[in-house]
Protein backbone atom coordinates (compact mmCIF):
# COMPACT_ATOMS: atom_id res chain seq x y z
CA UNK A 1 0.00 0.00 0.00
CA UNK A 2 1.23 3.46 -0.90
CA UNK A 3 1.91 5.75 2.03
CA UNK A 4 0.20 9.11 1.67
CA UNK A 5 0.32 12.37 3.60
CA UNK A 6 -3.20 11.69 4.94
CA UNK A 7 -2.17 8.31 6.29
CA UNK A 8 0.93 9.80 7.93
CA UNK A 9 -1.07 12.59 9.56
CA UNK A 10 -3.73 10.18 10.74
CA UNK A 11 -1.06 8.05 12.42
CA UNK A 12 0.55 11.13 14.01
CA UNK A 13 -2.84 12.01 15.54
CA UNK A 14 -2.18 9.09 17.88
CA UNK A 15 0.82 10.94 19.37
CA UNK A 16 -0.17 13.40 22.10
CA UNK A 17 1.59 16.12 24.05
CA UNK A 18 0.67 14.69 27.46
CA UNK A 19 0.91 18.04 29.28
CA UNK A 20 -1.53 19.80 26.95
CA UNK A 21 -3.60 16.69 26.26
CA UNK A 22 -3.84 17.18 22.49
CA UNK A 23 -2.37 15.32 19.54
CA UNK A 24 0.61 16.89 17.81
CA UNK A 25 -1.16 17.41 14.46
CA UNK A 26 -4.04 19.43 15.92
CA UNK A 27 -1.48 21.25 18.08
CA UNK A 28 0.26 22.34 14.88
CA UNK A 29 3.61 20.88 15.84
CA UNK A 30 4.12 19.07 12.52
CA UNK A 31 5.73 21.42 10.01
CA UNK A 32 6.31 19.13 7.07
CA UNK A 33 6.11 15.56 5.85
CA UNK A 34 8.34 14.27 3.06
CA UNK A 35 7.58 10.82 1.68
CA UNK A 36 10.17 9.11 -0.52
CA UNK A 37 9.26 5.50 -1.19
CA UNK A 38 9.46 3.64 2.12
CA UNK A 39 11.07 6.56 3.89
CA UNK A 40 9.21 9.32 5.73
CA UNK A 41 10.87 12.48 7.05
CA UNK A 42 8.92 14.64 9.49
CA UNK A 43 9.97 18.15 10.46
CA UNK A 44 8.32 19.28 13.65
CA UNK A 45 8.61 21.54 16.67
CA UNK A 46 7.44 21.59 20.30
CA UNK A 47 5.48 24.25 22.16
CA UNK A 48 8.55 25.38 24.09
CA UNK A 49 12.32 24.76 23.88
CA UNK A 50 13.56 22.65 26.78
CA UNK A 51 10.21 20.81 26.90
CA UNK A 52 10.74 17.82 29.23
CA UNK A 53 8.74 15.65 26.83
CA UNK A 54 10.96 16.42 23.90
CA UNK A 55 12.71 13.06 23.49
CA UNK A 56 9.56 11.12 24.28
CA UNK A 57 7.39 12.87 21.71
CA UNK A 58 10.05 12.45 19.00
CA UNK A 59 10.27 8.76 19.91
CA UNK A 60 6.47 8.47 19.67
CA UNK A 61 6.41 10.09 16.24
CA UNK A 62 9.03 7.67 14.98
CA UNK A 63 7.17 4.68 16.43
CA UNK A 64 3.86 5.82 14.91
CA UNK A 65 5.50 6.17 11.49
CA UNK A 66 7.29 2.82 11.64
CA UNK A 67 3.97 1.17 12.53
CA UNK A 68 2.62 2.14 9.12
CA UNK A 69 2.59 -0.49 6.43
CA UNK A 70 5.06 0.44 3.72
CA UNK A 71 7.27 2.58 5.97
CA UNK A 72 10.75 1.19 6.56
CA UNK A 73 12.58 4.35 7.61
CA UNK A 74 11.48 7.41 9.55
CA UNK A 75 13.51 10.53 10.34
CA UNK A 76 12.41 13.24 12.72
CA UNK A 77 13.92 16.71 12.59
CA UNK A 78 13.14 18.95 15.55
CA UNK A 79 13.28 22.67 14.75
CA UNK A 80 12.66 25.84 16.76
CA UNK A 81 12.43 28.24 13.85
CA UNK A 82 9.73 29.20 13.10
CA UNK A 83 8.67 29.03 16.75
CA UNK A 84 5.35 27.39 17.55
CA UNK A 85 2.33 29.66 17.94
CA UNK A 86 -1.35 28.87 18.66
CA UNK A 87 -2.23 30.14 15.18
CA UNK A 88 -0.68 26.91 13.90
CA UNK A 89 -3.29 24.83 15.74
CA UNK A 90 -6.42 23.50 14.11
CA UNK A 91 -9.84 24.69 15.26
CA UNK A 92 -10.35 21.23 16.74
CA UNK A 93 -7.12 21.53 18.74
CA UNK A 94 -7.95 25.01 20.02
CA UNK A 95 -11.46 23.98 21.03
CA UNK A 96 -10.19 20.87 22.84
CA UNK A 97 -7.48 22.64 24.80
CA UNK A 98 -8.92 26.10 25.37
CA UNK A 99 -5.81 27.65 23.87
CA UNK A 100 -6.44 31.12 22.47
CA UNK A 101 -4.76 33.12 19.74
Amino acid sequence: MKVTEEIVLESLREVIDPEIGCNIVDLGLVYSVVIAGASVDVTMTLTTPGCPMHETICWGVKEALLNLEGVEEAEIELVWDPPWHPSMMTEVGRAATGVRL
Binding site: M1, T4, E5, I7, L9, E10, S11, E14, V15, I16, P18, I20, G21, V25, D26, L27, G28, L29, V30, Y31, S32, V33, V34, I35, A36, T43, T45, T47, T48, P49, G50, P52, H54, E55, T56, I57, W59, G60, K62, A64, L65, N67, L68, E69, G70, E77, L78, V79, D81, P82, H85, S87, M88, M89, T90, E91, G98, V99, R100, L101
Partner: protein, 485 residues
Protein backbone atom coordinates in the same frame (compact mmCIF):
# COMPACT_ATOMS: atom_id res chain seq x y z
CA UNK B 1 9.92 11.11 -6.45
CA UNK B 2 9.56 12.62 -3.02
CA UNK B 3 6.23 14.04 -1.95
CA UNK B 4 6.53 17.03 0.33
CA UNK B 5 3.99 19.03 2.24
CA UNK B 6 4.11 21.91 4.71
CA UNK B 7 1.61 21.49 7.47
CA UNK B 8 0.78 23.92 10.20
CA UNK B 9 -2.11 22.06 11.74
CA UNK B 10 -4.51 23.79 9.38
CA UNK B 11 -3.70 27.16 10.94
CA UNK B 12 -1.71 30.11 9.66
CA UNK B 13 1.88 29.84 8.53
CA UNK B 14 3.86 32.54 10.37
CA UNK B 15 6.64 33.03 7.82
CA UNK B 16 5.58 32.14 4.36
CA UNK B 17 8.39 30.79 2.29
CA UNK B 18 10.77 30.45 5.20
CA UNK B 19 12.14 26.94 5.49
CA UNK B 20 12.23 25.54 9.02
CA UNK B 21 15.69 25.91 10.55
CA UNK B 22 17.10 22.90 12.33
CA UNK B 23 18.39 23.41 15.84
CA UNK B 24 21.16 21.21 17.22
CA UNK B 25 19.54 18.28 18.96
CA UNK B 26 19.43 18.95 22.66
CA UNK B 27 19.92 15.82 24.69
CA UNK B 28 18.41 16.92 27.96
CA UNK B 29 18.43 13.75 29.98
CA UNK B 30 17.34 13.78 33.57
CA UNK B 31 18.35 11.11 36.13
CA UNK B 32 16.21 7.96 36.53
CA UNK B 33 12.81 8.83 37.98
CA UNK B 34 13.38 6.78 41.13
CA UNK B 35 15.88 9.40 42.37
CA UNK B 36 13.53 12.42 42.46
CA UNK B 37 10.73 10.12 43.62
CA UNK B 38 12.71 9.04 46.67
CA UNK B 39 13.24 12.68 47.67
CA UNK B 40 9.61 13.60 46.98
CA UNK B 41 8.16 10.70 48.96
CA UNK B 42 10.44 11.46 51.93
CA UNK B 43 9.30 15.07 51.72
CA UNK B 44 5.61 14.17 51.68
CA UNK B 45 6.10 11.93 54.70
CA UNK B 46 7.80 14.78 56.56
CA UNK B 47 5.00 17.21 55.60
CA UNK B 48 2.30 14.88 56.90
CA UNK B 49 4.26 14.32 60.12
CA UNK B 50 4.73 18.08 60.57
CA UNK B 51 1.05 18.93 60.06
CA UNK B 52 -0.02 16.04 62.33
CA UNK B 53 2.42 17.38 64.95
CA UNK B 54 0.70 20.79 64.84
CA UNK B 55 -2.76 19.19 65.05
CA UNK B 56 -1.66 17.33 68.19
CA UNK B 57 0.35 20.24 69.68
CA UNK B 58 -1.29 23.47 68.40
CA UNK B 59 0.09 25.41 71.38
CA UNK B 60 3.53 25.30 69.73
CA UNK B 61 2.66 28.18 67.40
CA UNK B 62 0.53 29.96 69.99
CA UNK B 63 3.63 30.84 72.01
CA UNK B 64 6.95 32.50 71.21
CA UNK B 65 9.02 30.42 68.82
CA UNK B 66 12.30 30.20 70.75
CA UNK B 67 11.66 26.75 72.19
CA UNK B 68 12.92 23.28 71.34
CA UNK B 69 9.67 21.81 69.98
CA UNK B 70 8.88 24.58 67.53
CA UNK B 71 12.50 24.61 66.36
CA UNK B 72 12.21 20.84 65.83
CA UNK B 73 8.95 21.09 63.88
CA UNK B 74 10.31 24.03 61.85
CA UNK B 75 13.34 21.96 60.85
CA UNK B 76 11.01 19.09 59.97
CA UNK B 77 9.15 21.39 57.57
CA UNK B 78 12.25 23.12 56.20
CA UNK B 79 14.66 20.20 55.91
CA UNK B 80 12.32 17.22 55.80
CA UNK B 81 9.59 18.59 53.57
CA UNK B 82 10.81 21.60 51.62
CA UNK B 83 14.49 20.70 51.21
CA UNK B 84 13.75 17.08 50.29
CA UNK B 85 11.24 17.96 47.58
CA UNK B 86 13.22 20.93 46.29
CA UNK B 87 16.40 18.86 46.03
CA UNK B 88 14.64 15.96 44.29
CA UNK B 89 12.88 18.33 41.92
CA UNK B 90 16.11 20.19 41.17
CA UNK B 91 17.90 16.97 40.26
CA UNK B 92 15.08 16.37 37.78
CA UNK B 93 14.25 19.86 36.57
CA UNK B 94 17.55 21.74 36.45
CA UNK B 95 19.00 19.51 33.71
CA UNK B 96 15.71 19.67 31.78
CA UNK B 97 15.05 23.39 32.21
CA UNK B 98 18.64 24.33 31.39
CA UNK B 99 19.00 21.72 28.64
CA UNK B 100 21.93 19.79 30.03
CA UNK B 101 22.78 16.59 32.00
CA UNK B 102 22.93 16.00 35.74
CA UNK B 103 26.62 15.73 36.62
CA UNK B 104 26.36 12.62 38.82
CA UNK B 105 23.22 10.64 39.80
CA UNK B 106 25.46 8.51 42.06
CA UNK B 107 26.44 11.53 44.15
CA UNK B 108 22.76 12.43 44.34
CA UNK B 109 21.99 9.01 45.85
CA UNK B 110 24.76 9.46 48.43
CA UNK B 111 23.26 12.83 49.27
CA UNK B 112 19.79 11.31 49.68
CA UNK B 113 21.05 8.94 52.39
CA UNK B 114 23.01 11.68 54.18
CA UNK B 115 20.04 14.05 53.93
CA UNK B 116 17.54 11.60 55.44
CA UNK B 117 19.86 10.55 58.28
CA UNK B 118 20.77 14.20 58.89
CA UNK B 119 17.32 15.74 59.00
CA UNK B 120 15.65 12.94 60.99
CA UNK B 121 18.47 13.03 63.53
CA UNK B 122 18.35 16.83 63.72
CA UNK B 123 14.60 16.96 64.29
CA UNK B 124 14.81 14.35 67.03
CA UNK B 125 17.78 15.93 68.79
CA UNK B 126 16.24 19.40 68.56
CA UNK B 127 13.14 17.93 70.17
CA UNK B 128 15.22 16.44 72.98
CA UNK B 129 17.43 19.59 72.98
CA UNK B 130 20.75 17.79 72.67
CA UNK B 131 22.71 20.44 70.80
CA UNK B 132 25.88 18.39 70.59
CA UNK B 133 23.97 15.70 68.67
CA UNK B 134 22.25 18.40 66.60
CA UNK B 135 25.75 19.42 65.55
CA UNK B 136 26.66 15.85 64.64
CA UNK B 137 23.51 15.21 62.61
CA UNK B 138 23.77 18.72 61.18
CA UNK B 139 27.28 17.87 59.97
CA UNK B 140 25.94 14.78 58.20
CA UNK B 141 23.23 16.90 56.58
CA UNK B 142 25.78 19.59 55.67
CA UNK B 143 27.97 16.98 54.00
CA UNK B 144 24.96 15.99 51.92
CA UNK B 145 24.20 19.62 51.07
CA UNK B 146 27.84 19.97 50.01
CA UNK B 147 27.41 17.05 47.59
CA UNK B 148 24.14 18.55 46.34
CA UNK B 149 25.71 21.95 45.70
CA UNK B 150 28.79 20.39 44.06
CA UNK B 151 26.61 18.22 41.81
CA UNK B 152 24.47 21.13 40.67
CA UNK B 153 27.38 23.53 40.26
CA UNK B 154 29.03 20.97 37.98
CA UNK B 155 25.70 20.65 36.15
CA UNK B 156 25.42 24.43 35.79
CA UNK B 157 28.91 24.53 34.30
CA UNK B 158 27.57 22.46 31.39
CA UNK B 159 24.69 24.83 30.65
CA UNK B 160 25.01 25.76 26.98
CA UNK B 161 23.46 29.21 27.39
CA UNK B 162 23.46 31.09 30.73
CA UNK B 163 20.13 32.76 31.52
CA UNK B 164 18.06 34.27 34.33
CA UNK B 165 16.96 30.83 35.56
CA UNK B 166 20.54 29.60 35.82
CA UNK B 167 21.40 32.78 37.76
CA UNK B 168 18.57 32.18 40.22
CA UNK B 169 19.60 28.54 40.71
CA UNK B 170 23.22 29.59 41.31
CA UNK B 171 22.09 32.23 43.82
CA UNK B 172 19.87 29.72 45.64
CA UNK B 173 22.78 27.27 45.89
CA UNK B 174 24.96 30.01 47.36
CA UNK B 175 22.31 30.97 49.93
CA UNK B 176 21.62 27.40 50.99
CA UNK B 177 25.36 26.88 51.53
CA UNK B 178 25.55 29.97 53.74
CA UNK B 179 22.34 28.95 55.50
CA UNK B 180 23.70 25.52 56.40
CA UNK B 181 27.03 26.98 57.54
CA UNK B 182 25.18 29.51 59.70
CA UNK B 183 23.08 26.71 61.19
CA UNK B 184 26.14 24.62 61.99
CA UNK B 185 27.81 27.65 63.58
CA UNK B 186 24.80 28.21 65.82
CA UNK B 187 24.78 24.53 66.81
CA UNK B 188 28.52 24.73 67.58
CA UNK B 189 28.03 27.88 69.66
CA UNK B 190 25.29 26.25 71.69
CA UNK B 191 27.12 22.95 71.95
CA UNK B 192 30.35 24.46 73.27
CA UNK B 193 28.47 26.63 75.72
CA UNK B 194 26.84 23.49 77.02
CA UNK B 195 28.55 22.36 80.29
CA UNK B 196 28.17 18.72 79.14
CA UNK B 197 30.67 19.36 76.40
CA UNK B 198 33.33 20.84 78.65
CA UNK B 199 35.54 17.78 78.17
CA UNK B 200 35.60 18.41 74.44
CA UNK B 201 36.59 22.03 74.79
CA UNK B 202 39.66 21.00 76.79
CA UNK B 203 41.06 18.91 73.95
CA UNK B 204 43.46 21.44 72.45
CA UNK B 205 45.35 18.90 70.37
CA UNK B 206 42.54 18.62 67.89
CA UNK B 207 42.71 21.25 65.18
CA UNK B 208 39.09 20.67 64.28
CA UNK B 209 37.84 21.10 67.80
CA UNK B 210 39.97 24.20 68.16
CA UNK B 211 38.48 25.71 65.06
CA UNK B 212 34.98 24.79 66.15
CA UNK B 213 35.56 26.33 69.54
CA UNK B 214 36.84 29.55 67.99
CA UNK B 215 33.84 29.69 65.69
CA UNK B 216 31.48 28.95 68.57
CA UNK B 217 33.02 31.76 70.61
CA UNK B 218 32.67 34.17 67.71
CA UNK B 219 29.03 33.26 66.99
CA UNK B 220 28.19 33.42 70.71
CA UNK B 221 28.97 37.17 70.59
CA UNK B 222 25.74 37.75 68.68
CA UNK B 223 22.27 37.76 70.15
CA UNK B 224 21.00 34.12 69.85
CA UNK B 225 17.53 35.05 68.61
CA UNK B 226 18.97 37.41 65.98
CA UNK B 227 21.38 34.68 64.87
CA UNK B 228 18.50 32.23 64.54
CA UNK B 229 16.42 34.72 62.53
CA UNK B 230 19.36 35.55 60.24
CA UNK B 231 19.95 31.81 59.66
CA UNK B 232 16.25 31.30 58.83
CA UNK B 233 16.35 34.20 56.36
CA UNK B 234 19.29 32.68 54.50
CA UNK B 235 17.59 29.32 54.13
CA UNK B 236 13.96 30.23 53.58
CA UNK B 237 14.10 33.53 51.76
CA UNK B 238 17.51 33.06 50.17
CA UNK B 239 17.17 29.55 48.89
CA UNK B 240 13.52 28.63 48.56
CA UNK B 241 11.89 31.91 47.59
CA UNK B 242 14.78 32.64 45.24
CA UNK B 243 14.13 29.27 43.59
CA UNK B 244 10.39 29.87 43.33
CA UNK B 245 11.07 33.20 41.63
CA UNK B 246 13.73 31.83 39.27
CA UNK B 247 12.04 28.56 38.38
CA UNK B 248 8.68 30.20 37.76
CA UNK B 249 10.29 32.28 34.98
CA UNK B 250 10.66 28.94 33.18
CA UNK B 251 7.74 26.85 34.38
CA UNK B 252 4.89 29.36 34.37
CA UNK B 253 5.44 30.32 30.70
CA UNK B 254 5.85 26.61 29.86
CA UNK B 255 2.61 25.51 31.52
CA UNK B 256 0.49 28.49 30.48
CA UNK B 257 1.95 28.77 26.96
CA UNK B 258 3.44 32.20 27.39
CA UNK B 259 6.91 33.73 27.53
CA UNK B 260 9.00 36.14 29.57
CA UNK B 261 7.86 39.64 28.64
CA UNK B 262 10.72 41.78 29.94
CA UNK B 263 14.04 40.01 30.46
CA UNK B 264 15.66 43.05 32.11
CA UNK B 265 12.83 43.19 34.66
CA UNK B 266 13.27 39.47 35.41
CA UNK B 267 17.04 39.86 35.86
CA UNK B 268 16.54 42.96 38.04
CA UNK B 269 14.14 41.09 40.32
CA UNK B 270 16.77 38.40 40.96
CA UNK B 271 19.52 41.01 41.47
CA UNK B 272 17.43 43.03 43.95
CA UNK B 273 16.48 39.89 45.86
CA UNK B 274 20.15 38.94 46.18
CA UNK B 275 21.16 42.42 47.28
CA UNK B 276 18.28 42.68 49.76
CA UNK B 277 18.98 39.25 51.19
CA UNK B 278 22.66 39.94 51.79
CA UNK B 279 21.83 43.26 53.45
CA UNK B 280 18.93 41.78 55.47
CA UNK B 281 21.11 39.00 56.78
CA UNK B 282 23.58 41.50 58.24
CA UNK B 283 20.80 43.83 59.45
CA UNK B 284 18.96 41.02 61.25
CA UNK B 285 22.16 39.57 62.72
CA UNK B 286 23.41 42.94 64.00
CA UNK B 287 19.94 44.22 65.01
CA UNK B 288 20.52 47.25 62.81
CA UNK B 289 17.80 49.90 63.06
CA UNK B 290 18.00 50.48 59.32
CA UNK B 291 16.69 46.96 58.67
CA UNK B 292 13.62 48.44 57.02
CA UNK B 293 15.76 49.70 54.10
CA UNK B 294 17.04 46.17 53.46
CA UNK B 295 13.51 44.76 53.67
CA UNK B 296 12.32 47.32 51.14
CA UNK B 297 15.02 46.19 48.70
CA UNK B 298 13.69 42.61 48.99
CA UNK B 299 10.12 43.89 48.57
CA UNK B 300 11.20 45.84 45.47
CA UNK B 301 12.65 42.63 44.00
CA UNK B 302 9.44 40.76 44.75
CA UNK B 303 7.38 43.61 43.26
CA UNK B 304 9.34 43.38 40.00
CA UNK B 305 8.78 39.63 40.06
CA UNK B 306 5.04 40.19 40.57
CA UNK B 307 4.92 42.64 37.65
CA UNK B 308 6.76 40.24 35.36
CA UNK B 309 4.63 37.27 36.40
CA UNK B 310 1.46 39.29 35.79
CA UNK B 311 2.73 40.27 32.33
CA UNK B 312 3.55 36.60 31.57
CA UNK B 313 0.07 35.50 32.66
CA UNK B 314 -1.67 38.27 30.72
CA UNK B 315 -0.10 37.05 27.48
CA UNK B 316 -0.73 33.37 28.15
CA UNK B 317 -2.34 31.27 25.44
CA UNK B 318 -3.94 28.72 27.74
CA UNK B 319 -7.04 30.42 29.05
CA UNK B 320 -7.85 28.30 32.07
CA UNK B 321 -5.51 27.44 34.93
CA UNK B 322 -5.48 23.89 36.21
CA UNK B 323 -5.63 23.41 39.99
CA UNK B 324 -1.90 22.74 40.23
CA UNK B 325 -1.07 26.10 38.66
CA UNK B 326 -3.74 27.79 40.80
CA UNK B 327 -2.14 26.42 43.95
CA UNK B 328 1.30 27.55 42.77
CA UNK B 329 0.00 31.04 41.99
CA UNK B 330 -1.79 31.15 45.35
CA UNK B 331 1.55 30.54 47.04
CA UNK B 332 3.16 33.25 44.97
CA UNK B 333 0.31 35.66 45.79
CA UNK B 334 0.89 35.03 49.48
CA UNK B 335 4.22 36.83 49.01
CA UNK B 336 2.13 40.00 49.24
CA UNK B 337 0.93 39.60 52.87
CA UNK B 338 4.34 38.13 53.72
CA UNK B 339 6.04 41.28 52.41
CA UNK B 340 3.66 43.54 54.35
CA UNK B 341 4.40 41.55 57.49
CA UNK B 342 8.13 41.73 56.75
CA UNK B 343 7.93 45.53 56.54
CA UNK B 344 5.96 45.72 59.81
CA UNK B 345 8.45 43.49 61.63
CA UNK B 346 11.37 45.53 60.28
CA UNK B 347 9.84 48.83 61.40
CA UNK B 348 12.27 50.77 63.59
CA UNK B 349 11.26 50.91 67.23
CA UNK B 350 8.69 48.11 66.97
CA UNK B 351 7.84 47.16 70.58
CA UNK B 352 8.96 43.66 71.54
CA UNK B 353 5.71 42.49 73.09
CA UNK B 354 3.52 39.38 72.88
CA UNK B 355 1.77 40.60 69.72
CA UNK B 356 5.09 41.15 67.96
CA UNK B 357 6.09 37.61 68.97
CA UNK B 358 2.91 36.20 67.44
CA UNK B 359 3.42 38.29 64.28
CA UNK B 360 6.89 36.76 64.02
CA UNK B 361 5.29 33.31 64.33
CA UNK B 362 2.81 34.26 61.63
CA UNK B 363 5.65 35.49 59.41
CA UNK B 364 7.42 32.13 59.64
CA UNK B 365 4.16 30.21 59.18
CA UNK B 366 3.20 32.26 56.12
CA UNK B 367 6.65 31.81 54.58
CA UNK B 368 6.71 28.03 55.04
CA UNK B 369 3.04 27.05 54.84
CA UNK B 370 1.54 30.05 53.05
CA UNK B 371 4.06 30.66 50.26
CA UNK B 372 6.51 27.80 49.81
CA UNK B 373 4.28 24.78 50.55
CA UNK B 374 1.41 25.60 48.12
CA UNK B 375 3.95 26.59 45.47
CA UNK B 376 5.66 23.21 45.89
CA UNK B 377 2.41 21.20 46.00
CA UNK B 378 1.22 23.02 42.88
CA UNK B 379 4.40 22.03 41.08
CA UNK B 380 4.20 18.47 42.45
CA UNK B 381 0.94 18.15 40.50
CA UNK B 382 3.11 18.69 37.42
CA UNK B 383 6.23 16.79 38.47
CA UNK B 384 4.72 13.57 39.88
CA UNK B 385 2.41 12.78 36.93
CA UNK B 386 5.29 13.62 34.59
CA UNK B 387 7.63 11.19 36.37
CA UNK B 388 5.02 8.42 36.47
CA UNK B 389 3.99 9.04 32.88
CA UNK B 390 7.60 9.04 31.77
CA UNK B 391 8.26 5.70 33.44
CA UNK B 392 5.00 4.01 32.37
CA UNK B 393 4.23 5.46 28.96
CA UNK B 394 7.24 7.10 27.34
CA UNK B 395 8.03 3.94 25.36
CA UNK B 396 4.37 3.27 24.51
CA UNK B 397 3.59 6.59 22.87
CA UNK B 398 3.01 6.11 19.14
CA UNK B 399 2.33 2.39 19.63
CA UNK B 400 -0.75 2.72 21.82
CA UNK B 401 -3.06 5.43 23.13
CA UNK B 402 -1.62 6.81 26.35
CA UNK B 403 -3.34 9.06 28.90
CA UNK B 404 -2.60 12.78 29.23
CA UNK B 405 -1.06 13.94 32.52
CA UNK B 406 -4.35 15.46 33.63
CA UNK B 407 -6.08 12.07 33.23
CA UNK B 408 -3.85 10.53 35.88
CA UNK B 409 -5.43 12.15 38.95
CA UNK B 410 -8.74 13.49 40.17
CA UNK B 411 -9.34 17.18 39.40
CA UNK B 412 -12.26 17.27 41.88
CA UNK B 413 -9.91 15.93 44.57
CA UNK B 414 -7.48 18.71 43.66
CA UNK B 415 -10.26 21.29 43.92
CA UNK B 416 -11.32 20.03 47.36
CA UNK B 417 -7.67 20.08 48.45
CA UNK B 418 -7.22 23.63 47.15
CA UNK B 419 -10.18 25.08 49.08
CA UNK B 420 -9.39 23.08 52.22
CA UNK B 421 -5.83 24.40 52.08
CA UNK B 422 -6.93 28.00 51.62
CA UNK B 423 -9.42 27.76 54.47
CA UNK B 424 -6.92 25.98 56.73
CA UNK B 425 -4.26 28.59 55.99
CA UNK B 426 -6.64 31.48 56.75
CA UNK B 427 -7.98 29.96 59.98
CA UNK B 428 -4.51 29.05 61.26
CA UNK B 429 -3.08 32.48 60.40
CA UNK B 430 -5.79 34.34 62.31
CA UNK B 431 -5.59 31.83 65.17
CA UNK B 432 -1.82 32.31 65.53
CA UNK B 433 -2.24 36.05 66.04
CA UNK B 434 -5.17 35.44 68.42
CA UNK B 435 -3.15 32.69 70.21
CA UNK B 436 -6.17 30.40 70.05
CA UNK B 437 -5.00 26.79 70.28
CA UNK B 438 -8.48 25.42 69.42
CA UNK B 439 -8.62 27.46 66.22
CA UNK B 440 -5.02 26.55 65.34
CA UNK B 441 -5.98 22.87 65.71
CA UNK B 442 -9.02 23.40 63.46
CA UNK B 443 -6.95 25.22 60.84
CA UNK B 444 -4.24 22.55 60.86
CA UNK B 445 -6.91 19.83 60.63
CA UNK B 446 -8.15 21.53 57.44
CA UNK B 447 -4.58 21.57 56.15
CA UNK B 448 -4.39 17.85 56.98
CA UNK B 449 -7.60 17.27 54.99
CA UNK B 450 -6.02 19.05 52.05
CA UNK B 451 -2.94 16.83 52.38
CA UNK B 452 -5.19 13.78 52.40
CA UNK B 453 -6.56 14.75 48.97
CA UNK B 454 -2.98 15.21 47.79
CA UNK B 455 -2.02 11.74 49.06
CA UNK B 456 -5.07 10.17 47.41
CA UNK B 457 -4.13 11.82 44.14
CA UNK B 458 -0.52 10.68 44.52
CA UNK B 459 -1.92 7.16 45.01
CA UNK B 460 -3.97 7.48 41.81
CA UNK B 461 -0.87 8.62 39.93
CA UNK B 462 1.33 5.85 41.33
CA UNK B 463 -1.31 3.31 40.33
CA UNK B 464 -0.24 3.91 36.73
CA UNK B 465 3.05 2.22 37.63
CA UNK B 466 1.15 -0.95 38.52
CA UNK B 467 -1.71 -0.75 36.03
CA UNK B 468 -0.81 1.32 32.97
CA UNK B 469 -3.93 2.53 31.18
CA UNK B 470 -3.14 1.80 27.56
CA UNK B 471 -5.68 1.67 24.75
CA UNK B 472 -5.15 0.41 21.22
CA UNK B 473 -4.58 3.00 18.51
CA UNK B 474 -7.51 3.51 16.15
CA UNK B 475 -7.51 0.98 13.32
CA UNK B 476 -6.35 3.18 10.47
CA UNK B 477 -5.80 2.60 6.83
CA UNK B 478 -2.25 1.58 6.16
CA UNK B 479 -1.32 0.49 9.67
CA UNK B 480 0.66 -2.69 10.13
CA UNK B 481 -1.58 -5.34 11.73
CA UNK B 482 0.40 -5.38 15.00
CA UNK B 483 -0.10 -1.64 15.49
CA UNK B 484 -3.83 -2.06 16.01
CA UNK B 485 -3.27 -4.49 18.92
Amino acid sequence: MAVSSHIFGGGKQPRLGAAPVATPQVNATAPPVILPFSFIMSGLLALCTGVAWLVVRPELVAAYHYNQSIIAVTHLFVLGWICSVVMGAMYQLVPVALETHLYSPRLAWCQFVLHCVGFIGMVWTFHTWNMKQVGHFGSILALGVGLFVFNLVQTLRRVPKWNVIASAVAAALTWISFGVLAGLSIAAAKSFNDPDSASLSGDRTSLLLGALKAMAAWVARFDPISTMHAHAHLGVLGCFIMLIVGVSYKLVPMFTLSEIQNRARAVSSIALLNLGLAASFLAVLLRWRGKIACTLIVVAGLALYGLELTAILRTRKRRSFDWGIRLFLTGVTMLLPLSVLGVILSWPGLPLNALTGQLENLYGFLALIGVITPAIIGMLYKIIPFLVWFKSYSRQIGRARVPALADMYSASGQMLGFWAYLLGLSVTSVAIVATSTAAIRLGCALLALSLLTLLLNVGLMLNHFLKPKLKPVSPMVGAKPAACL
